[in-house]
């Protein structure tokens, strides 16, 4: 009766990914595949130390948009309410892409920068670390 729907993956002798117990072969398409976004893709951006924005932004963007356009046309308007936003130079800042440090090419597209669907970008602006010494 007991059925494990998918393969159990072992890594370092530890069960990493398990699987649903179900009465039938339980398999579904991920709901947020890139093809569901009508030619667009998602990217998440967090400005580290600026918790005035309570969570990373979820942004809907064109994959062939340049990194510079992401900054100028999308990120800057998103952070405009923060008093430090006027001083922030995001192109000269420190970036992380999906947990790895990353040097963007401003004029290349997101895809050419390796920023694929549902990628997470974290930007740190040295000298600008939020308000009230609390990363706000």
């Amino acid at each position: 009766m007991l059925k494990r729907a998918g393969p159990v993956t072992h890594k370092n002798n530890k069960v990493m990914i398990m699987s649903v117990n179900a009465l039938y072969d339980y398999k579904f398409e991920p709901r947020d595949k890139v093809e569901n976004f009508n030619g667009m893709q998602l990217v998440y951006v967090q400005w580290a130390g600026h918790l005035m924005f309570c969570a990373p932004f979820a942004l809907l963007v064109k994959p062939d948009m340049s990194f510079r356009a992401l900054i100028d046309d999308v990120l800057k308007p998103a952070v405009a309410a923060h008093p430090q936003s006027v001083k922030a130079d995001f192109l000269e800042a420190q970036w992380e892409l999906n947990g790895e440090s990353f040097t963007p090419n401003a004029d290349a597209s997101l895809v050419d920068n390796g920023i694929d669907h549902k990628s997470m970008l974290v930007v740190t602006t040295p000298g600008l670390d939020g308000m009230f010494n609390t990363g706000y």
């Binding site: 009766m1 007991l2 059925k3 729907a5 998918g6 990493m16 990914i17 398990m18 699987s19 649903v20 117990n21 179900a22 009465l23 339980y26 398999k27 579904f28 398409e29 991920p30 709901r31 947020d32 595949k33 569901n36 976004f37 009508n38 667009m40 998602l42 998440y44 967090q46 580290a48 130390g49 918790l51 005035m52 924005f53 309570c54 969570a55 990373p56 932004f57 979820a58 942004l59 809907l60 308007p77 998103a78 309410a81 999906n98 947990g99 694929d116 669907h117 549902k118 990628s119 997470m120 939020g130 308000m131 009230f132 609390t134 990363g135 706000y136």
Partner: protein, 521 residues
């Protein structure tokens, strides 16, 4: 005493009216009649060991429930006839009810469906009877809550379309997906999730201190339905504890399965209750106890006693309870500032707490409020005063499992957002915490299907590409009435009218004295 002996005693009566009314099937196999009972891997050796400590039978159930209903509806009538809404401490309070009606009451209905379903799936008669009674209770809760709040709906905004909103609005996907997750699990996981982890371990936090707070804010109708529901809950909690003990006593192989469910559902419930933390600290104008205090009493103290009791079965306290315990100093403040910045997309209002309220929070949160949160409110108040009431116009990232925006901070560092991500079968997934990430890794097939409201808007499935259209057309939130800042809202104006123009009646004087001027800050 002779009279008493004529009656069956409680134990015999329970035996006759539950077990002895069941029968052993003869021409069908038990596995065919109860096909969902074994696939979760839970082994039941002897169903007759199931005990309902209350030993409640249907006849007694109807008798006591009828009495509760009569009391409850007499109070609803009195409340409505006497315009009870005019006597609450402050109309800001009603916003907690808007969240309750859209976020909690539909869960009562979901619980009704859930217990009706699992009540069919157990081969033990005692368990079936207990689930049947609980299903009826949950339906009663859903209905009485809607009745109680229908009076408020006549006088305040945001209460007009709760069931519709529950299915669609971004933050209501948090409670909705919580219950959908439980209801799509097997029957034993459902009971572990809802009867034990949620009802026994966590719902006290909502129904006891928050309802006491409703009383303190003069909301007679809400405290009455709350406590009336909770009187059923006392039975449900007992069932929750019995369920766990029963499963654990049946077979040692059940222990690791139950432990994994407890870990999962403690955390799912904790994330869901983060909404309650802000109801308690921010939406009760007169305060009873802080979220941190309630967490200490109802989780750390009572949960501590419970898990000590369960030690003998080899069960340990839920994984990540240390994270939850530490978060009590931050949770309500992080939630409220989130809803403050996304009030354009909520069916309730938000505001900056008054000076007096902030002083209360400083006292209740001595290590965190003045350091982290008071400066934020002072900044936001100044922005508002200068004509820049802060709204965040960009949609947030949501956790793939709990569906809350990934807004929580790391344990021990309230300046650093907690975020985890993994890749699974070529897709990236993001989480608010290690705990939610663990839950995903245990059952990825379940959570890859998550209906995340932000992504659904971006996929074009919510009747519009811009927030305004989605909020108005898809959510049925009336723009300029239900949403945005409290100060200056139609509710606020109506409340000022009520307090200024209402004829002097008994009770009004008192209400006048305790009302706090909105936005004194």
């Amino acid at each position: 005493m002779a009279v008493k002996n004529k009656k069956l005693n409680l134990k015999d009566k329970y035996q006759y009216l539950t077990r002895d009314m069941a029968w052993e099937p003869t021409y069908q196999k038990k596995e065919d009649i109860y096909p969902d009972e074994s696939f979760e891997g839970i082994k039941i050796v002897d169903w007759s060991q199931w005990e309902d400590p209350f030993r409640l039978t249907m006849d007694a159930y109807w008798k006591y429930q009828a009495e509760k209903e009569k009391k409850l509806y007499a109070i609803f009538d009195a409340f409505a006839q006497n315009n009870g809404h005019q006597n609450i401490t402050d109309a800001r309070y009603v916003n907690a009810l808007k969240l309750f009606l859209t976020g909690v009451s539909p869960l009562e209905h979901a619980a009704f469906q859930g217990y009706s379903k699992v009540g069919r799936q157990f081969s033990g008669a005692g368990a079936r009877v207990a689930c049947q009674m609980q299903a009826i209770d949950e339906l009663r809760h859903s209905q009485t809550q809607q009745h109680a709040m229908s009076h408020y709906n006549k006088h305040f905004n945001g209460l007009h379309d709760a069931a519709h909103m529950h299915d669609r609005v971004w933050f209501l996907s948090v409670p909705k997906s919580f219950f959908d997750d439980a209801r799509t699990a097997g029957p034993f996981e459902f009971l572990t999730a809802i009867s034990f982890s949620f009802e026994y371990v966590l719902t006290n936090l909502l129904f006891v201190p928050f309802m006491s707070g409703a009383a303190y804010n003069n909301d007679m109708a809400t405290v009455t339905f709350g406590f009336s529901a909770q009187s059923d809950e006392a039975r449900h909690m007992t069932l929750g504890l019995e369920v766990i003990k029963f499963i654990l006593e049946q077979h040692e192989d059940n222990v690791p399965i139950v432990q994994r469910w407890i870990d999962k559902w403690f955390w799912r419930g904790f994330r869901l209750l983060s909404l309650v933390s802000m109801m308690m600290d921010y939406m009760l104008p007169k305060k009873v106890m802080s979220w941190a205090e309630a967490w200490e009493v109802y989780y750390e103290q009572n949960g501590g006693a419970l898990f000590k009791d369960l030690e003998r079965y080899g069960i340990r306290p839920p994984k990540y309870e240390d994270v939850a315990n530490e978060a009590k100093h931050h949770l309500s403040h992080q939630l409220w500032t989130t809803f403050y910045q996304y009030s354009q997309a909520t069916n309730f209002h938000t505001w900056i707490p008054t000076e007096e309220e902030m002083d209360w929070m400083s006292e209740k949160y001595p290590d965190t409020f003045d350091k982290y949160y008071r400066p934020r409110y002072e900044f936001l108040a100044k922005e508002h005063a200068e004509g820049r009431r802060y709204y965040n116009n960009t949609l947030p990232q949501l956790c793939q499992v709990c569906q809350v925006p990934t807004l929580f901070t790391e344990k021990g560092d309230a300046t650093k957002l907690s975020h985890r991500q993994i890749e699974h079968e070529g897709e990236r997934y993001h989480f608010c915490s290690e705990a939610c990430c663990d839950i995903f890794k245990d059952e990825p097939e379940k959570y890859v299907q998550a209906w995340l409201p932000v992504h659904q808007i971006y996929q074009g499935n919510c009747e519009g590409g811009d927030v305004e259209t989605v909020v108005q057309n898809y959510y049925h939130i009336n723009i300029g009435e239900d949403n945005f800042e409290y100060v200056g809202s139609p509710d606020h104006k109506r409340w000022q009218f009520i307090k200024g123009m209402a004829p002097q009646q008994k009770g009004d004087d008192q209400a006048e004295k305790t009302v706090q001027k909105p936005n004194a800050a």
